[in-house]
């Protein structure tokens, strides 16, 4: 089965106070229809910038410096602004972290959801759009949807707002949904409901999902593939089950060790010492080398090539991937 989305060597620059930094550095991955890819990493590792680059909605100080984003075989980076408008919300949806700020406070729900039908399906009349709006709101389980059409965002709870945000992103049955930390701002119980909703929608429509998260438990239960990012680069990627069972990069290993296990007797979790490097002063070799227990002189001077481990399905950017794998 061919890839729905293929990101090739994507590189994105950000102009910051300390000069131009490479927020996304030579990132490549692909997603197939109906599958879920997790983008995992600490804050500032480039996950969200990768998503914004795919949507071509970077902040004013960002610029895509190179690479290709092939969606259904077409390079999104080569599209005109109008061409991108036709794809956003229609073929690719995206939900962002904070549902408290992502909905327009001055427009009612019917208007905000209905806009998608207006601009993508040409439904000019509000009356004709109404049944479609009600339908999509019911699909994300908003109770008594037809009674909530005139409600404004502030009249909904955080979880309900995120459901509205999901509704307007799946309204046109997109092939790909990018979920940029969709549950970070929500209560734990609501988080589970939102994830369950995403899974349900995916089963019904076969859309692919890119889930940005730093919660490894979510990755384990929810995703098929995972790409681990560190300081702007992907350091390891492959099927979730294999990587969680046998990580092939010391960073992944460190992350998994720091994961609290139910029933564990350990009092303190083994943390990774140190902090990720600032993007404006990256170490010359492997970016994880200063924190890595295995680092050698080679690691400190040269960025590692991709090491294929266990066949073609997964790879790790570590000189000693095979040893890490054990």
């Amino acid at each position: 089965m061919s890839d729905l989305l293929r990101v090739e060597n994507l590189t994105t620059w950000l102009a910051t106070e300390s000069g131009i930094v490479t927020a996304v550095d030579d990132v490549s991955f692909s997603v197939r229809a109906g599958r879920t890819l997790a983008l995992v990493g600490e804050s500032g590792s480039g996950k969200s910038m990768t998503c914004s680059s795919i949507m071509r909605l970077l902040p004013g100080n960002g610029r895509i410096a190179g690479g290709r984003v092939l969606f259904e075989g077409e390079d999104l980076l080569a599209k005109s602004p109008a061409g991108m408008e036709a794809i956003r919300g229609r073929k690719i949806g995206m939900i962002v972290q904070d549902p408290m700020t992502s909905l327009n406070p001055l427009l009612d729900v019917e208007d905000q959801v209905g806009e998608v039908f207006k601009y993508h399906l040409g439904d000019r009349s509000r009356r004709l759009r109404r049944p479609k709006v009600v339908d999509v709101l019911s699909r994300v389980h908003i109770p008594a949807a037809e009674k909530r059409l005139g409600s404004y965002p502030h009249e909904f709870s955080g979880g309900m707002r995120q459901r509205v945000a999901i509704a307007l992103n799946i309204a046109c049955a997109p092939k790909l949904l990018i979920a940029d930390e969709p549950t970070t701002a929500l209560d734990v119980t609501v988080q589970q409901q939102i994830l369950a909703l995403l899974r349900e929608l995916q089963r019904g429509t076969g859309m692919a999902i890119i889930l940005v998260t730093h919660d490894l438990h979510t990755v384990q239960r929810f995703c098929d593939e995972v790409a681990i990012m560190y300081a702007g680069r992907i350091v390891e990627q492959g099927p979730v089950s294999e990587i969680f069972a046998r990580p092939a990069h010391p960073y992944t290993q460190g992350l998994l060790r720091a994961l609290p296990q139910l029933g564990s007797q350990e009092e303190r979790l083994p943390l990774i010492p140190g902090q990720p490097p600032s993007l404006s002063s990256l170490p010359p070799g492997c970016r994880f080398a200063p924190r890595c227990p295995r680092a050698t002189d080679l690691c400190r001077t040269e960025y590692p090539d991709w090491m294929a481990t266990s066949g073609e399905t997964r790879r790790s950017a570590c000189w000693y991937a095979d040893e890490v794998l054990g």
Binding site: M55, L57, P59, G60, P81, A82, E85, A86, I87, R88, G89, R90, G93, M94, V96, D98, T101, S102, L103, N104, P105, L106, L107, D108, E115, V116, Y119, H120, Y152, H154, E155, A165, L168, N169
Partner: protein, 305 residues
């Protein structure tokens, strides 16, 4: 909504009452009009008689109470200078001032808001450059200065427009642009900074994620949110422009209320000053009330608060 409206109207009435009270007391502190009304050789007994006839010898509280009762009947007292009801004197002059103020505010909004939006959409573009220039001049120099420059260029040098006076639209052009420039400058800067902030908000990003065309993103999603503080600012501008009209009215010999108030204060014509200030306060609170209601119409979070 009805409750909100009732509260706001009650607040407005209290505001106007306070204004009438303050001006009533202050104008009496400035001086005694009987000195100006009677010849210098009049005795203190003559003056006391006149004061009693005018009701000025009573305690201020009593005078104010009497004034309030009259006010309820729409009577604002007599102007001793014009020997006419003060209300009629003021109403005769309020038209030109309102015309000038409203035209200036309209110019300010019609120029300032679109310029602010355009310069926020493309910061450091040529429109932004132009708008910053306009704003700089508008806020750096007082309106009457532009009035004088306009007269010099367009009346004296080019002879296109009359230097001063009141009548057809040709008389309105220069004073309203001189006054409107100032409010355009402020409105442009406020619109620009609000738009810049709103354009980086998450809900504007979400509108773009939905594939909403950029025009609708700017004018529907962003401008509606950015317009709320601009609306408040514009309503405050109305009061500021009414004040600024005083100097512009003297430059262009505009027969408005500004000069009337100044002369009435100088001549201690209590009734006219009180009537003019009360009417100004009424208009100002009416505009504020309208803006508050507009706010509630635009922003649902206020409606239910």
């Amino acid at each position: 909504m009805l409750r909100y409206l009732t509260i706001r109207i009650a607040q407005s009435i209290v505001t106007v009452l306070l204004v009438t009270m303050i001006i009533f007391v202050i104008i009496r502190l400035i001086g005694d009009p009987t000195h100006l009304m009677l010849p210098p050789e009049a005795t203190e007994a003559d003056r006391e008689l006149l004061r009693q006839q005018m009701g000025l010898s009573d305690p201020v509280v009593v005078q104010y109470w009497r004034y309030l009762l009259q006010l309820l009947h729409g009577d604002m007292g007599m102007s001793y200078r014009f020997s006419l009801p003060a209300l009629d004197v003021v109403l005769g002059r309020i038209g030109p001032t309102l015309l000038l103020t409203c035209t200036s505010l309209a110019i300010g909004i019609l120029v300032g808001v679109p310029l602010g939006v355009a310069s926020a959409v493309r910061p450091d573009g040529w429109i932004d450059f132009l708008a910053k220039g306009i704003a700089l001049f508008g806020q750096a120099a007082p309106p009457f200065f532009f009035g004088l420059i306009f007269v010099l260029v367009f009346s004296v040098q080019l002879g296109w427009l009359p230097t001063s006076g009141y009548g057809g639209p040709q008389y309105l052009i220069m004073p309203s642009i001189a006054l409107g420039w100032y409010s355009a400058a402020g409105l442009m800067r406020l619109t620009r900074s609000n738009m810049m902030e709103v354009l980086t908000s998450e809900y504007v990003k979400m509108a773009r994620i939905k594939g909403v065309p950029e025009r609708a993103v700017v004018y529907k999603h962003a401008l509606k949110n950015a317009a709320l503080p601009v609306l408040t600012f514009a309503s405050l501008q109305f009061g500021i422009l009414m004040g600024g009209a005083v100097s512009i009215e003297s430059v262009f010999a505009w027969p408005g209320m500004g000069k009337l108030i100044l002369d009435s204060i100088a001549n201690l014509d209590y009734a006219v000053v009180q009537a003019a200030v009360t009417l100004s306060a009424l208009m100002f609170t009416a505009i504020n009330l309208t803006v508050d209601l507009l706010y509630a119409y635009i922003d649902p979070r206020i409606r239910y608060a």
